[in-house]
Amino acid sequence: MKENIKDMSRRAFFKKVGAAGVAAAGLASCSGNGNPSGTPGEVPADKMTYRTNPKTGDKVSLLGFGMMRLPSVGGRSAREGNEEIDQEMVNQLVDYAIAHGVNYFDTSPAYCRGKSEHATGIALSRHPRDKYFIATKLSNFAPATWTFEGSIAMYRNSMKELQVDYLDYLLLHGIGMGSGMEEYKKRYEDNGVLDFLLEERRAGRIRNLGFSYHGDVKVFDYLLSRHEEYQWDFVQIQLNYLDWKYAKEINPRNTDAEYLYGELAKRNIPAVIMEPLLGGRLSNVPDNIVAHLKQREPELSVASWAFRFAGSFPDVLTVLSGMTRMEHLQDNIRSYAPLKALTDEEFGFLQDTATLMMQFDTIPCNDCKYCMPCPYGLDIPAILLHYNKCLNEGNIPEHSQDENYRTARRAFLVGYDRSVPKLRQANHCIGCNQCSPHCPQRIDIPKEMRRIDEYVERLKQNTL
């Protein structure tokens, strides 16, 4: 603590802040590094757990930084509306992450209205190239980009935006979405794009080639069946304690993470984990779940359970978290610096928690905004999240005779107008269904819109 302050580099400064946090733990106030969630304030700078990539020997931090939920200017949470990315804050987050041992950064040409790669490039280019690994994707949202030329252009543009001449990790984006097999073939095989990427890997411009998977399990199985040929270096899957055994129950068109992980482990393919927290649905949970988790570990955050769950699997290379705020980052670093692996008993405890959560009728939206923009102006994630929020807070009355009917009704309706502008509410959904194919969780969005609209009508007309 009493080193020469003049010589302190930026990174050393952050380490210091971390050390100061250690020193100040237990003190009443610790500015800058204070902890908002009430858990111990320590954010260790040098205790990060690393996993080794069996092919390249990369030491990858267990916490990976997802660049999908970057902060926007205006101080609003995450990426509401059409606000620009807050580059200043992105830089701060990236600096802090690197100073605390995080070295895996995952982005895509589609994220944040297509601006994530650019922002990530700016933030990372301020650090030595050997201090971080970049993962980006060959995205598949617009059929206009499905040509060979369009794909190459997208790939080259990623390098340009990220200001690098090689990519550490490249993924085929969202395999299994849309029409499944047919879309995969059209997008990556028939046009020769996959062959091109394999060639790029041989040339060393792509160090690891893999794919991210959502949706139709046939495509997942098909790609793994050709592992001999393609030699996948890693695969990105959705894994968390709710999806471990219940993904299929939540939506029959999805696949349990237990199966996905098992298939990868069988082949010794490292797994990169996405949605460990389900876009916050495993941190913002109903009150009784909070109590259930906190009773066991009063000082740990609700989110830390989800991170420990995902990190405890040995073949997991890194766990991605889309961190919008410094507090998210700090809390997640705490969970993995170092990882305290789950015991078998704790594993069972989380399975019980998942069972408990299944009783709630939560809509499985993770606020990834893949469905947006809705051509008819709706703010789909905001509508779904408002519904989930009211569900968590007990503000979804089932009957007008309910004890809290009046206050719950007011909270729902007033909150609805606050969360979603009137013209972007569910009653404007025309059911064109252009959104659903983009949903990684395969939510039947028009159906949910109608359900919420009808519920709102009944609240408004007092006919519940």
Binding site: C112, A142, C374, V414, G415, I430, G431
Partner: protein, 502 residues
């Protein structure tokens, strides 16, 4: 003492009536909605015999206390005049003037002719209560709304649902301008000469003035005690005390009781007429230099453009994730007949009874009602559905209307009153223009008047378009408002001249 009672009552009435126009939650109306209903002109238009009799008897007993206490326009002028009197050496700034009788009765005659002839805009221009209502709705309500929104802003951050945001919007420019001009003219008159408006222009003032000549209780000057100091005349905002002759013009006295305390010799008292006969003031109304409320008479037509040129929101191809599509504002379609609220019976009935006080416009929670820009019914409300539609759980306008222009109806009645019918515009319909499934109009029709049928006859797989059963349509505008086609909806409501019970 009498003055204090008058002041307290006046403030009470004034504040609560103003709140009727400001409150958008409906709580004030539940308790004090009657205050609008005892206003003279609305009661006359509503043929509310009880209220009229009460006001006539009240005036015959106590003089024009109505003008001093119940009428918000009168109290508003008193407030302005009071502020004017706070200036140095302006406390006793009035002087006696003779009655402008010809002018008063001429205006009244014109007013009655306009009323009978159904020139609603002229009636609305002169009626005191509606003039005040327009001022409150157009000038005060926005301030109140913004204040509320500020509280809502903080409430949202405090996670409280105590306040919610309300939208403040310009409902009609002509009406706003009329309200502004009325405000300026009346305020200037009151600032300079007190009750000039009430005693020269106001038709209600003239009618009540006629009655108050014979009122039972009235102020009178004891000639024995009076020293002709002129203080009472200079204090009288109605300019009705002729101190030289110890006369009071009771047709203009609004029983404000200001003079009683002003007299240092105790010569003025409020007492029954028979105790001391007062001779009538000589009537010589000659010079009539009255500033008339000069509202611009241009024909303000609703802003409409050709339906054919409607540019449609085209579904954009999705390339990246996130972001919000731009939503174009809806424009008002050209309606052959204006839509008036359920309970109005017919546009003729509505035209004859509405005083354009804007109370219904103030309380409409769905932003449907707004003042008309049509010259013949300028400022009288009409409905349009670009911002919202006439929701099934709401009968607010019919609850608050003091003039009987919108009769009280129940929710059940409302759902079966046909105020108009929907018309389909093929060129704008999304399934045909964008090639996507829609049916949002049919889904939201409260009476099930819209069905979706295949656009290609004989091809059940073709995209479906709406067809309207006009027999079941009530004209609520849910379809028009929720139609995704912008700026012009593919389905809009035509008003009916005569409403019909289904």
């Amino acid at each position: 003492m009498l003055r204090k009672i008058r002041q307290i009552l006046a403030i009470l009435f004034f504040a609560l009536i103003t709140l009727l126009f400001l409150d958008f939650t409906g709580t004030i109306h539940a308790w004090f909605g009657w205050m609008a209903k005892i206003q003279f002109l609305p009661a006359v238009l509503a043929l509310n015999v009880g209220v009229i009799l009460f006001l006539v008897v009240l005036t015959l007993l106590f003089g024009r206390v109505y003008c001093s206490v119940i009428c918000p326009m009168g109290v508003f002028q008193d407030a302005v005049s009071w502020m004017s009197g706070l200036r140095k050496k302006k406390k006793y700034r009035f002087s006696y003037s003779s009655e402008k009788r010809i002018l008063r009765y001429a205006v009244l005659a014109l007013f009655i002719i306009a009323l009978v002839a159904g020139v609603g805009s002229f009636v609305a221009l002169l009626a005191p209560y509606s003039s005040y209502g327009r001022m409150a709705n157009n000038l005060f309500a926005p301030l109140y709304g913004w204040g509320n929104n500020l509280l809502a802003y903080f409430a949202e951050r405090a996670d409280s649902y105590a306040f919610y945001e309300t939208s403040v919007w310009l409902k009609s420019l002509p009406t706003f301008l009329v309200a502004l001009v009325t405000f300026i003219v009346v305020a200037v008159l009151a600032w300079k000469n007190g009750r000039t408006y009430c005693n020269t222009i106001c038709p209600v003032g003239t009618v009540l003035g006629f009655l108050s000549r014979y009122s039972l209780f009235r102020i009178s000057i004891d000639a024995g005690k009076c020293t002709s100091c002129s203080l009472c005349s200079r204090k009288c905002k109605a300019a009705c005390i002729d101190y030289k002759n110890h006369n009071v013009d009771y047709s203009r006295c609004v029983s404000c009781m200001d003079c009683i305390g002003t007299c240092k010799h105790d010569a003025i008292s409020y007492r029954p007429a028979w105790k001391k006969r007062a001779t009538e003031a000589p009537a010589d109304g000659q010079q009539a230099a009255v500033k008339e409320t000069s509202a611009s008479r241009r024909s303000f037509l609703t802003a409409t453009a050709g339906l054919a040129s409607a540019s449609l929101l085209k579904a954009q191809e999705k390339k990246v994730d996130g972001g919000l599509a731009v939503i174009e504002e809806k424009k008002i379609p050209a309606r052959a007949a204006a839509i008036v609220p359920p309970g109005a019976w017919s546009s003729r009935h509505f035209l004859q009874h509405c005083t354009a006080c804007q109370l219904c416009v103030s309380v409409c929670p769905n932003e449907v009602l707004r003042p008309s820009g049509d010259l013949m019914k300028l400022m009288q409300p009409e409905m349009s559905y670009e911002r919202g539609y006439c929701r099934p759980e709401c009968t607010k306008c019919s609850e608050v209307c003091p003039a009987g222009a919108i009769r009280p109806i129940s929710l059940a009645e409302k759902s079966s009153i046909q105020i108009g019918h929907a018309v389909w515009i093929k060129d704008n319909c999304i399934p045909l223009t964008d090639g996507v499934e829609c049916g949002n109009c049919a889904r939201h029709c409260p009476t099930g008047a819209i069905q979706m049928v295949p656009s290609e006859e004989g091809d059940p797989e073709s995209l479906k378009i709406p067809v309207i059963n006009t027999e079941r349509c009530i004209g609520c505008g849910a379809c028009e408002n929720l139609c995704p086609s912008r700026p012009f909806s593919a389905i809009y409501v035509e008003g009916h001249l005569e409403h019909r019970m289904l």
